[in-house]
């Protein structure tokens, strides 16, 4: 096959376009390593440009924006019920958890409160989405470090959680189930017993993970003391969630600042922290969180009160003028919505604070001086989701 001139020119242009970006990082000695935007170890389309000295990273720069879909602007042209459809897809692994803070903010503005039954079921679904999210992290971390087995195990057991979400909401992935003033539907028959069984499976997955991965010598060698983030650095970069708790800061919005509309106080549970702040600590904290979540779900399932599922709200939702900020502890960390309403059908402005963007902003700091394979471990253990970074 002959190469035409136009093909040749297109190739040269593509090469030149890449070279321009790389040149910014080029120095006289050392080399520039470009990972992404499509790279198996970046969980999607994060691009990392690392400047290397031998095998050590001198400077490492994440380049986000490849998954920017313009949520904040789109929220301004969607009505309040339509916004939940959209924001489901920000952190696509914990979809239901994305809806909750926005709905709570709208409820705050409208001055309605969901009935107690809806609040408890909402909390259960919130925790189920956390389980679906973090169980994939556990599997993915194994895959990043070369142990594919645990990835298969995680995908296998995650399906049981997704089944429960699907049975209750009708959607495996993006439920769009939360409504202003309650929930769309009541639970189906037999759901509670089935969810108890799914929680047992998740606890078994945790045990398997502990034996297969956490106790593994290779895993420990690659994560202990790697990517250490001290508590003051973590707080100054605005990290939240398990990444912050792994640095020893005992801070969980579910316990410390739970907004009205979620009923975590009905359950007896514990916030886990780890003093080390390295990759191992982040993994360990997340594993304990999965366990704790299953206990929360188990307790809440046995204490669902009877009653209606939906409060009295008008058919066409107009939110009165005002501003509200609600943040909850999402699977990845603190996620908040600042909703400004002008009394219209659509929000005037929605500011979304998602956890991954702040969690990933520490990458240039934490990757200075580490070896190239450790970049993968650090990125995997920081655990971000691209939609959550770029929005």
């Amino acid at each position: 096959m002959t190469v035409t001139d136009s093909q040749k020119m297109a190739y040269v242009a593509a090469q030149a376009a890449d070279a321009r970006v790389n040149l910014q990082f080029e120095t006289e000695d050392g080399m520039t390593l470009n990972m992404g935007p499509q790279h198996p170890a970046t969980h999607g389309t994060l691009r990392i440009v690392a400047q290397l000295d031998g095998e050590q990273v001198v400077r490492c720069e994440p380049i986000p924006g490849y998954m920017h879909r313009g949520y904040e602007k789109l929220c301004e042209v969607r009505t309040y019920p339509q916004v939940t459809t959209l924001i489901n897809r920000i952190d696509w692994l914990g979809s239901f958890a994305n809806e909750v803070p926005f709905i709570l903010a709208a409820e705050k503005l409208m001055d309605v409160e969901a009935p107690p039954r809806a609040q408890v079921i909402r909390t259960i679904l919130f925790e189920l989405s956390r389980l679906g999210n973090i169980s994939l992290f556990l599997g993915d971390l194994g895959i990043q470090l070369g142990g594919i087995t645990i990835g298969f195990y995680a995908f296998r057991d995650r399906e049981f959680v997704l089944n429960q979400i699907e049975a209750a909401t009708g959607g495996r992935f993006h439920p769009n189930f939360d409504r202003i003033g309650g929930l769309k539907d009541d639970l189906p028959k037999g759901w509670i017993a089935e969810t108890h069984r799914a929680m047992d499976r998740m606890r078994r997955l945790c045990d398997e993970f502990e034996e297969l991965v956490l106790g593994n010598e290779i895993f420990q060698a690659r994560t202990r003391g790697i990517g250490v983030i001290p508590a003051d650095i973590a707080t100054s970069y605005g990290m939240s969630g398990a990444n912050l708790r792994a640095t020893g800061v005992d801070w969980d919005l579910r316990r410390d600042a739970c907004p009205p509309g979620l009923s975590y106080d009905l359950a007896d549970w514990k916030v886990w922290t780890h003093p080390d702040g390295d990759s191992y600590a982040r993994t360990w904290v997340r594993l304990q969180e999965v366990r704790e979540s299953t206990h929360i779900v188990d307790q809440l399932l046995d204490s669902i009160p009877a009653g209606p599922i939906m409060a009295k709200v008008p058919r066409i939702i107009k939110v009165p003028e005002g501003e509200a900020w609600v943040a909850t502890e999402n699977p990845l960390g603190e996620m908040g919505y600042y909703v400004v309403s002008k009394g219209d059908l659509v929000p005037f402005r929605v500011k979304i604070r998602s956890a991954s963007f702040n969690n990933i902003s520490v990458v240039p700091w934490v990757t200075r001086g580490v070896f190239v394979p450790d970049v993968i471990t650090i990125m995997a253990s920081l655990y971000f989701i691209l939609g959550d970074i770029d929005r």
């Binding site: 490849y66 789109l74 897809r89 696509w92 692994l93 298969f152 995650r158 939609g387």
Partner: protein, 166 residues
Amino acid sequence: MGLVESGKLPKPLTQLLSLSRKYSLWVYQWGLACCAIEMGSAFASPRYDVMRLGVIPFPASPRQADLVVISGTVTDKMAPAVKRLYDQMPDPKYVISMGSCANCGGPYWDSYSVTKGVDQIIPVDVYVPGCPPRPEALLEGIVLLQERIGREDMAERWKGDPIVVG
């Protein structure tokens, strides 16, 4: 292989080639957004297990791949990379567009930063609708693509309309 390009291959040979291509599809993992997780469920989960269909989901580079599943939102910033990776794949190559975003923009149809449909950049063989599609839907898309590859004649390539699942 000059015969193949001029379309003069004897029919039994074409069928043999098509048969072997059909059951040895190497899929490049092109996880972009939400759909990537459902693609992961279809490819890596024991419940769906794509390998029983003769699809191998772990090539290390697009240069080893026959099929690419565009799973998720293609943004304008990402589009050049999509095109470039498609160009790196050796012919014959196939594209499955998975999910509403890759098909037509989906829920971001009025977004300023999203490419409305990956078919603006690269030719698509199978469209799998859904947001995201269930893993079963992706598997059906792969089966339909295999049927088409089985019937394919090199000289007739690209003349058919794209398949829409469901």
